[in-house]
């Protein structure tokens, strides 16, 4: 697609990251590991049907489980070896499928596709191939962020390169030497929909184009979470038909291209790793599904630290002994809250992270060390409007929250509940410590459940 007109999307609202421990641009190879795992319970809205059992031998790319609702949707093994353990969480939710790796790993072979064959392939067989090859879970659908519905033809698919969250992998690093696969992946995506929008996030520093600029269609400027496809869509959409667009991360497009071109399930991954207490923060060249502490064997792994996967504002808490969800690409180690603070609320607060201007840390833009503390107790909403002034998609969280609270789901939908990009900023800024984003996300999930029961 040469010579595409590039559109600049400037997003005003959001939050400028001021957190210490940003991963450097250095790439390190993570040490070899003995076990990898697939983590089904982190997949949204999936009911897995297990197709293997303990003791089975699997190859890289063998089917581990499928979705009960869409049996075509397969989830493949990120390693070759023997299944050493299958663990279940509360209510028998399939939690982890752990594979003990062989010393020589073998790939399952899939059909390769050439450049010219890709031009001719129909949409249906291409989707079938991606689903059988375990690539489909990388393609997600707005607004519920579930795995894309293959029977639906969206208006566009949004590819995001780079993130406004500096703790996510940099696109410059994962694109290095992979541009061919990326372009092949884009070509495959363009067989699925009429429009493929490639959004590159630009912060002020990286003004120059080190990557073939004519393939990028949208240049995104703004604070976190400007790079989120939901935010870009909200600021560019012209009709309600676009609400169910698909999206995929740039690194996953490389995977998709690599899978189609080589016929092997790609398991290599660039993961951004951050640990503010050491200077180990960097990008790690690793593989899918490794144990978190395998990323940083020297990191402290006890109750004084918290391991966060997928970004500190919208990810989930994990532990060093847990495995990394193959779809996630960012790991952060942060301080666990430890001791109450004497007269915390009257201190000048030179080192207190805050979006408000009530602490003296506001005068400096230096990054600050964070911990997992709430910094206060929960209180009733006082309608201060901090959430509404930061929400990147203008949903006025305090009022939407109230309509959900009153069980007025229609009102909440009208306020834009489904436009919520689950960025977590409303909960972050709330001085009353109300779990706003969690509450909105829960309501979205309930609504999704209701919709899928109707269908």
């Amino acid at each position: 697609m040469p010579g595409v007109f590039m559109k600049t999307v400037k997003i005003k609202k959001g939050w400028q990251f001021k957190i210490a421990g940003k991963p450097s641009q250095r790439i390190k190879n993570s040490p070899a590991v003995s076990h990898v795992a697939s983590v089904p319970d982190k997949l949204p809205f999936i009911r897995p049907r297990l197709l293997v059992q303990k003791g089975d031998h699997v190859l890289i790319g063998s089917v581990l489980f499928e979705d009960k609702k869409h049996p075509d949707l397969k989830f493949l093994s990120p390693g070759c070896g023997t299944i050493s353990n299958i663990t279940y969480g509360p209510r028998r939710v399939l939690h982890e499928i752990v594979i003990e790796l062989d010393s020589n790993e073998i790939f399952e072979t899939f059909e390769m596709i050439t450049d010219s064959a890709l031009d001719l392939i129909e949409r249906k067989p291409l989707i079938a191939r991606l689903m059988a090859g375990g690539m489909w879970p990388f393609v997600r659908q707005l607004p519920f962020r579930q795995i894309a519905n293959p029977d639906f033809r969206p208006n566009a698919v949004w590819v995001s390169l780079g993130s406004a969250d500096p703790f996510q992998p940099s696109s410059h690093i994962y694109l290095k030497d992979q541009v061919g696969f990326f372009e092949f992946g884009i070509k495959a995506l363009s067989r699925l929909t009429d429009t493929v929008n490639i959004c590159r996030y630009d912060n002020e520093k990286s003004g120059k184009n080190d990557f073939d600029a004519n393939i990028v269609t949208h240049r995104i400027i703004g604070k976190y979470p400007a790079s989120d496809p939901g935010v870009v869509l909200y600021h560019t959409k012209k009709s309600a038909a676009e609400n169910h667009d698909w999206y995929i991360d740039g690194q996953d497009v490389i995977h998709l291209g690599k899978f189609l071109k080589t016929g092997a399930y790609p398991i290599d991954r660039i993961v951004s790793f951050s640990d503010a207490s050491s200077d180990n923060s960097c990008h790690l060249k690793t593989r899918m599904g490794i144990r978190l502490k395998g990323l940083a064997p020297s990191a402290i792994n006890d109750h004084s630290k918290r391991w966060v996967v997928g970004g500190v504002l919208s990810g989930y808490t994990s532990a060093g002994d847990e495995f990394l969800d193959p779809h996630q690409t960012s790991v952060m180690i942060m301080e666990e809250t430890n001791q109450s603070e004497l007269f915390g609320f009257v201190r000048p607060g030179f080192k207190k992270l805050s979006n408000s201007r009530t602490f003296l840390s506001v005068i400096s833009s230096a990054p600050l060390t964070i911990n997992s503390d709430m910094h206060g107790e929960e209180r009733p909403c006082i309608n201060c409007g901090y959430c509404a002034s930061i929400c990147p998609v203008d949903i006025m969280p305090q009022f939407t929250y109230r309509s959900i609270y009153a069980d007025e789901i229609e009102e909440a939908l009208a306020c834009g509940l489904l436009d919520c990009v689950e960025c977590g900023l409303c909960s972050f800024v709330c001085p009353s410590k109300i779990e706003l984003s969690d509450f909105l996300i829960e309501a979205k999930h309930r609504y999704h459940k209701e919709l899928s029961q109707v269908a």
């Binding site: 918290r306 805050s354 201007r357 602490f359 206060g376 209180r379 309608n383 306020c415």
Partner: protein, 399 residues
């Protein structure tokens, strides 16, 4: 030193918390214990749900900034109360005496207000088993600052009780009240005990015997001069001859309510609130604009003055009386103000406009801003409703 203090304080709370847990002797008073403990120590509560990092601000910080912004008018109020009181009694105006006299008048008001208010707050917190909210820290100080210094202490207690119970707790407590509790309390006193809340006699704190002895000293406030006395052609000249020049009114060196006389101090407070982002600049600027524009329009329109105040320079409206205090500290209370951005402009503007209307058309209520804010509190939910409707109609639907 501080470490030792911290260690002992920590030990004190740890040792005594047993009495306030379930089955302990004072379990019912747990909210009080928790309030004291969390004032001393911001508790370490881990974030269980994403985001795992939270903003350093909490309601305690939020309210302390308001208290900080209240300090300039409070200090000025103490000074001015003492000054007016000594001046009226004909005593020496020495600075330490002024401060002592001011403190002796003002501190009892504040202490009674906090004591009576916290009694109700604790009672409701205990019965309804919720933590004591920080909002009262502000209400308890705002209320005495709106009162005439001569008000009897039992009226302070009655007023704040009404404000807390009827103004706030019956609606469900902090965050759910319709009216600003401090203003509700003041309005209650204003209508229940008008003799001690308005008129020329109440604005200077002097003992009754002294005030009858010095009847020559007029305690009239600028706003109560509503009729033109014959030698003067304009209200400005009349005010000036009574000592109320624009600069006096701005600085606030005249008899009036404890904290409300100085527009200058309120301006400092407004700057603190706006710079820290705790109060909405939209409400404050909207209110000032509403006041200036509507009083200016009255200047132009009125050919036959309805009242001496129709023709006055709009700046007098801004500097005189409690408008500055009201618009900065009362109207910006986020709970009773609208939560949407454009509505805040409209809300502020109407408060300014209504203040002028009340001052001009209803000389019985010389202080218009109290009524104006309470009246607009009533409309805040409607403003929000309209703005949300307009906002929703602009969105591309997503269902």
């Amino acid at each position: 030193m501080l470490n030792l203090f911290e260690k002992n304080l920590r030990r004190f709370f740890e040792k005594n918390s047993i009495h306030f847990t379930e089955g302990g002797r004072f379990y019912k008073l747990r909210p009080l214990f928790e309030a004291l403990e969390t004032i001393c120590f911001t508790p370490a509560i881990p974030a269980r749900r994403p985001p795992f990092v939270r903003d350093g601000i909490d309601l305690k910080r939020f309210m302390s900034i308001v208290l900080l912004a209240l300090m300039p008018p409070l200090f000025w109020g103490i000074y001015n109360t003492g000054y007016q009181s000594l001046a009226a009694s004909g005593k020496d105006l020495i600075f330490p005496n002024i401060i002592i006299s001011g403190l002796l008048t003002v501190m009892p008001l504040i202490i009674v207000s906090y004591a009576a208010g916290f009694f109700w707050e604790i009672l409701f917190a205990v019965i309804r088993k919720h933590p004591i909210s920080e909002g009262f820290l502000v209400t308890g100080l705002l209320f005495p600052m709106t009162l005439p210094p001569s008000v009897p202490l039992w009226q302070v207690a009655v007023g704040i009780s009404f404000g807390v119970v009827i103004g706030k707790e019956v609606f469900g407590g902090t965050g759910r009240n319709i009216f600003n509790p401090a203003l509700t309390a003041r309005a209650f006193l204003f209508f229940a005990y008008p003799a001690r809340m308005s008129g020329d006699r109440v604005w200077v704190a002097v003992s009754d015997t002294a005030s009858s002895a010095i009847s020559a000293v007029s305690g009239a406030t600028p706003l109560s001069m509503s009729t033109l006395a014959p030698p003067f052609n304009t209200i400005e000249s009349m005010l000036q001859s009574a000592g109320f020049t624009l600069s006096t009114l701005f600085v606030g060196n005249y008899p009036g309510s404890v904290g409300g006389t100085s527009a200058l101090c309120c301006l400092i407070g407004a700057l603190i609130l706006i710079i820290t982002g705790v109060a909405s600049y939209r409400i404050i600027i909207g209110g000032v604009a509403g006041l200036l524009i509507s009083s200016f329009l009255f200047n132009i329109v009125s050919t036959v003055p309805l009242n001496a105040w129709t023709d006055i320079n709009p700046l007098y409206h801004l500097a005189a009386g409690g408008f500055a205090f009201g618009i900065v500290y009362m109207a910006t209370d986020p709970v009773s103000a609208p939560g949407t951005q454009t509505s805040k402009w409209v809300y502020g503007f109407f408060i300014g406009m209504l203040t002028v209307l009340i001052r001009i058309f209803n000389p019985a209520y010389p202080e218009g801003v109290m009524m104006a804010i309470l009246f607009m509190n009533l409309f805040a939910p409607l403003f929000d409703f309209i703005e949300i409707r307009m906002h929703v109609s602009k969105r591309i639907p997503n269902v």
